[in-house]
C-alpha cells in the first residue's frame, strides 16, 4: 500500500466513493453488463476511471501511485461488478496507447473508460491456442478497409463486447509471425456471431466468435500491417502488469489462505498437525506469489520491460490455485462433496473455478517453454510445422506464443 501524505486526500475520496457510491449505483441492477456499466460509469464520473491514462484518451493523466490507490481501495463488490470492463480498461486501451493509435484512442478511450463500450480480445482460435502465431482468421484488403473471415474462441465477455481486438492473418504467404495484423473489430457489425461456452462452474464468461465476411474500416488498424505479433506482445505485457497490479482482485485468484483458515476454524481441525502443515504450504505459496507480483510491479513501474521471468509468478499462482482448491475441499466440504442446502455452494464454486487459472495467460507447459528457451537458452524443439521452419532463421521462437490475455 502506498502511503504518501500528498495522496491521502485522494485515498480518502476513493475510499468514500467505494463505500458509498458503488453500493448505491449497483442497487437493484442485475444483468452483468448493466452492473459493469453502472460501476464503471460511476467511476468515470467521479474521476476514478483511467486514473493514469492520458487525458486525450479520456483518462485523468495522474500518476501510477494514484492508480494504485484506486486499486487498493476498490472493494470486492466493485471489482466483481467491473469484471467485464477490466480487460478494456487495463489491457486493451493501454496497449492501444502504447502502439500510438492516437486517433483511435481518442475515439474509443472515453467509451471504454466509462464502459459505454466493452472491449474483448480475439486472439485464440480452435487450431491456434498455445501456438498463437498460427492464427488462420483471414483479413483481406478491400476498398476502405478489410473483410475478415474466421473463428475465435475463449473470448471473455465477447457476448457483452462492442469492440474486439483481433489478431488476424493478412499475408498467408509471409513467415508465420510476420503475416499477422491487429485490427479493432466492431462486435456489433454484420457477420459477427457470438456463441457462449458454458464453463465447468456453470458460468458463461467465455465465447466462441464467428467472423463471417465482417467489414473492418481502414482506420481500425492497430500498429502496422504485418506488425500484429508485436502488438500482441504489447497487449500481453499490459496483461501481466494488470494481473500483478490487481493483486488479490480483478482477476481469477486462488482460494485465499484466509478462507482456508476460516474453514479450518469452523470445523475445529487446526490442532491436527497435517492440517497445520498444509496451511503453511498454502501460506508460503500465497506470500511468494505476492512478493513476486510486487517485484514485477516495481520493475514495470521503473520502466524495465516485463520479460519472460514474469512466468514465475504465473507458475506459483497455478500451483496455489490447485493446492488451495484441494485443501478447501479437505477442510471445508462434507463427506464425498455432497451437501444439503446452500451452505457449501460458495466453497464448491471456488473449488471448481480454480483450474481456470492454469490456462489464462498461457498454460504451465508454455510457461516452462518460455523459461527454458528464453531465459535458460535451451534449444527449441524441432518444428514440424513448415511455417515454423521458415521463421527459424529469424529469432522468433515457438515460446513466443505466450498465451492470451483476455482468456482467464
Amino acid at each position: 500500500m502506498i502511503q504518501r501524505p500528498d495522496l491521502e486526500d485522494f485515498r480518502t475520496q476513493a475510499r468514500e466513493f467505494f463505500a458509498r457510491e458503488v453500493p448505491a449505483v449497483l442497487h437493484g441492477v442485475d444483468a452483468p453488463v448493466d452492473r459493469a456499466r453502472a460501476v464503471r460509469g460511476a467511476l468515470h464520473r467521479a474521476g476514478f476511471s483511467g486514473v493514469s491514462i492520458p487525458e486525450y484518451a479520456g483518462g485523468r493523466g495522474l500518476s501510477a501511485d494514484h492508480e494504485d490507490i484506486v486499486t487498493d481501495e476498490a472493494t470486492t463488490l466493485a471489482v466483481t461488478a467491473d469484471r467485464p470492463a477490466f480487460l478494456g480498461v487495463n489491457v486493451i486501451l493501454p496497449a492501444l496507447i502504447d502502439v500510438g493509435a492516437a486517433e483511435l484512442v481518442a475515439e474509443v478511450g472515453p467509451r471504454i473508460l466509462s464502459a459505454d463500450a466493452i472491449a474483448c480480445q480475439l486472439f485464440s482460435e480452435p487450431d491456434a491456442g498455445s501456438d498463437l502465431a498460427g492464427v488462420m482468421t483471414r483479413a483481406t484488403e478491400v476498398d476502405g478497409g478489410w473483410r475478415v473471415q474466421g473463428q475465435k474462441v475463449w473470448t471473455s465477455y465477447a457476448h457483452l463486447a462492442d469492440f474486439g481486438l483481433a489478431l488476424v492473418r493478412t499475408d498467408p504467404e509471409a513467415p508465420k509471425h510476420s503475416g499477422l495484423t491487429m485490427l479493432l473489430i466492431d462486435m456489433n457489425a454484420p457477420g459477427v456471431t457470438v456463441r457462449p461456452i458454458k464453463q465447468m462452474t456453470g458460468d458463461g464468461e467465455f465465447n466462441e466468435v464467428f467472423l463471417d465476411n465482417v467489414f473492418v474500416r481502414a482506420d481500425r488498424l492497430v500498429g502496422t500491417v504485418g506488425g500484429g505479433w508485436k502488438v500482441a506482445g504489447t497487449v500481453l505485457g499490459h496483461e501481466r502488469l494488470a494481473i500483478s497490479r490487481s493483486g488479490g482482485v480483478g482477476v481469477r485468484n486462488p482460494i485465499s489462505v484466509r478462507e482456508l483458515v476460516d474453514l479450518v476454524t469452523r470445523h475445529d481441525t487446526i490442532s491436527v498437525p497435517d492440517v497445520q502443515s498444509s496451511l503453511l504450504d498454502a501460506w508460503m505459496g500465497e506470500r511468494t506469489a505476492a512478493i513476486l507480483s510486487r517485484q514485477t510491479t516495481v520493475q514495470a513501474r521503473s520502466g524495465l520491460p516485463l520479460g519472460p521471468e514474469t512466468s514465475l509468478g504465473k507458475m506459483h499462482r497455478t500451483r496455489n490455485a490447485f493446492r488451495n482448491a484441494r485443501l478447501a475441499t479437505e477442510f471445508g466440504l462434507p463427506c464425498g462433496g455432497a451437501w444439503i442446502g446452500d451452505e457449501y455452494a460458495g466453497t464448491a464454486y471456488e473449488i471448481l473455478n480454480s483450474p481456470g487459472m492454469a490456462f489464462g495467460g498461457g498454460t504451465d507447459d508454455i510457461q516452462r517453454n518460455i523459461v527454458a528457451e528464453r531465459i535458460l537458452g535451451l534449444p527449441r524443439e524441432q518444428a514440424v510445422d513448415p511455417r515454423d521452419r521458415r521463421t527459424a532463421v529469424g529469432h522468433q521462437s515457438s515460446s513466443q506464443s505466450t498465451g492470451k490475455a483476455g482468456e482467464q
Partner: protein
C-alpha cells in the same frame, strides 16, 4: 551464467559477487578428493585471500573494532557465491554465526579482544551450540567457577561446524541453573577436538571433549541463550543465501549438460521432458532468491533479521537445493552417480543443510507460529 531478475542487487553487491566469483573460480577445486584433503576441512590460503584482498570477514564488523562497518546484507552475495562452488570455509561458522553472536552477546572488553582478529582473517571462531540429541549418554558441557571471572568447562559436545579448525570456540554450557556462552581458546589445555564423519564433505564438523578447560564468559550469563537465538537468524539467512547459490549452480550445470549432450539426433535440452525439468529448477532457484532478497531488505529496514522473512527464505532455499540437486542428477543421468562428477557433492550438501541449523520440521513449526495461521 543465468541472471537473477528477482534479487535486484545494488551495483556494488553485483560487483562484489563478481570479485568473489573470480577468486573462488580460480582457486576452489570442484574435485571430490579435495574436500577431504586437510584435517582443517578448508583451504587457509583461499580464506586469507578472501580476508586480505576483499575483506570478507571484516565486512559486517564495526570500524572501531577493526571492521569495515557494512551491513550483514552486504555479505549475502558472498554466501551465495561460496555456496555456488561449495567452498568449505569458516564463512558460515565464523562470519555467519560466531561473529553476530559476539556482536550480540559479548561485553565491550571481549568484543575488542576477539573481533579485530576475526575481521583481519587472522583467527576464526566456531559456535558449539548443540548437544547431540541422539546421544543419550551425552550430558553436555558444564561450567564451574575456577577463579575471578575464570571458569572451567567439562563435558562433551558434537556437531560444531568448523570446530576442529577454529581458533576461538564459543561454547554453550550449563552454569548452575543457567545456560551461558563461554569463550574457549582452540589451543586450551584439556580440549580434545575430533573431526566427525559427515555426509557433506565440503563442510567440516567436530566433536569436542572438555576436561577442565579454562574459559571465560562471552558476556552476561543470563542473556546468552537469547543472543544465540538471534545469532542463529543471521546464520539462517546466510545459509539460505548459500543454499540458493548451490542450487543455482546445479541448475547451471544441468542446463550446460542439456545443451551439449546429444541423443536421438538433438541436444537433450530440446526435449520438453528435459527443458521443463530445467524450467522448474529455475523456478525454485528464483523463488528462493526472491525470498532471500525480501529477507535481506527486511534486515536492512529493521537492523536485525526478521524471523518470519528469514525462516521462509531458509525453507525455500533448502527446498530449492534439495530439488535442484536431485533434478540435476536426473538430467545428467548415470554420470552423476560417479565419484568424479560434482553432482553428488551438491546432493551431499542438500542433505546436510536440511538439518544443519535444526531439522526443517522445526523451522516449519516456527514459521507456522510466525505466520499467524495457527491461533495458538
Amino acid at each position: 551464467m543465468t541472471t537473477s531478475p528477482f534479487m535486484q542487487q545494488t551495483p556494488e553487491r553485483t560487483e562484489l559477487a563478481g570479485a568473489i566469483r573470480r577468486l573462488l573460480d580460480q582457486h576452489v577445486s570442484s574435485r571430490s578428493e579435495d574436500d577431504t584433503g586437510s584435517a582443517d576441512g578448508f583451504d587457509r590460503r583461499i580464506w586469507q585471500l578472501l580476508a586480505e584482498s576483499i575483506g570478507v570477514p571484516a565486512m559486517a564488523i564495526p570500524e572501531d573494532v577493526g571492521g569495515v562497518g557494512f551491513g550483514f546484507s552486504d555479505l549475502l552475495p558472498v554466501f551465495e557465491e561460496a555456496g555456488r562452488v561449495l567452498y568449505g570455509s569458516p564463512l558460515l561458522s565464523s562470519v555467519g554465526l560466531a561473529t553476530p553472536l559476539i556482536r550480540l552477546a559479548a561485553d565491550a572488553g571481549t568484543a575488542t579482544r576477539l573481533l579485530p582478529d576475526l575481521a583481519s582473517g587472522a583467527s576464526t571462531a566456531a559456535v558449539a551450540w548443540l548437544e547431540n540429541p541422539t546421544d543419550r549418554s551425552s550430558r553436555g558441557v558444564h561450567a564451574r567457577i575456577a577463579g575471578s571471572k575464570q571458569f572451567a568447562l567439562s563435558g562433551h559436545t558434537t556437531h560444531v561446524i568448523d570446530g576442529y579448525s577454529a581458533d576461538i570456540l564459543l561454547v554453550l554450557a550449563r552454569l548452575g541453573e543457567q545456560t551461558a556462552i563461554f569463550v574457549v581458546e582452540g589451543t586450551a589445555p584439556g580440549l580434545l577436538r575430533s573431526p566427525m564423519d559427515t555426509i557433506d564433505h565440503s563442510r567440516s564438523q567436530a566433536s569436542l571433549t572438555f576436561d577442565v578447560v579454562p574459559a571465560v564468559l562471552l558476556g552476561e550469563a543470563q542473556g546468552g541463550m537469547e543472543a544465540l537465538g538471534r545469532a542463529q537468524d543471521y546464520a539462517a539467512l546466510a545459509l539460505a543465501a548459500e543454499s540458493t547459490g548451490a542450487a543455482r549452480r546445479c541448475l547451471e550445470s544441468a542446463v550446460e549438460y542439456a545443451k551439449s549432450r546429444r541423443q536421438f539426433g538433438q541436444p537433450i535440452g530440446a526435449f520438453q521432458a528435459v527443458k521443463h525439468r530445467c524450467a522448474e529448477m529455475w523456478a525454485s532457484v528464483e523463488t528462493a532468491a526472491a525470498l532471500v532478497g525480501e529477507a535481506s531488505r527486511a534486515l536492512e529496514t529493521h537492523g536485525v533479521p526478521s524471523p518470519l522473512d528469514t525462516t521462509h527464505a531458509l525453507i525455500a532455499a533448502v527446498d530449492a537445493l534439495d530439488f535442484c540437486a536431485q533434478e540435476s542428477m536426473r538430467v545428467h543421468g548415470g554420470i552423476s552417480f560417479t565419484w568424479e562428477h560434482s553432482a553428488h557433492r551438491y546432493y551431499r550438501r542438500a542433505r546436510s543443510v536440511q538439518t544443519l541449523l535444526g531439522p526443517m520440521s522445526r523451522h516449519r513449526e516456527r514459521l507456522t507460529a510466525l505466520s499467524g495461521i495457527h491461533p495458538n
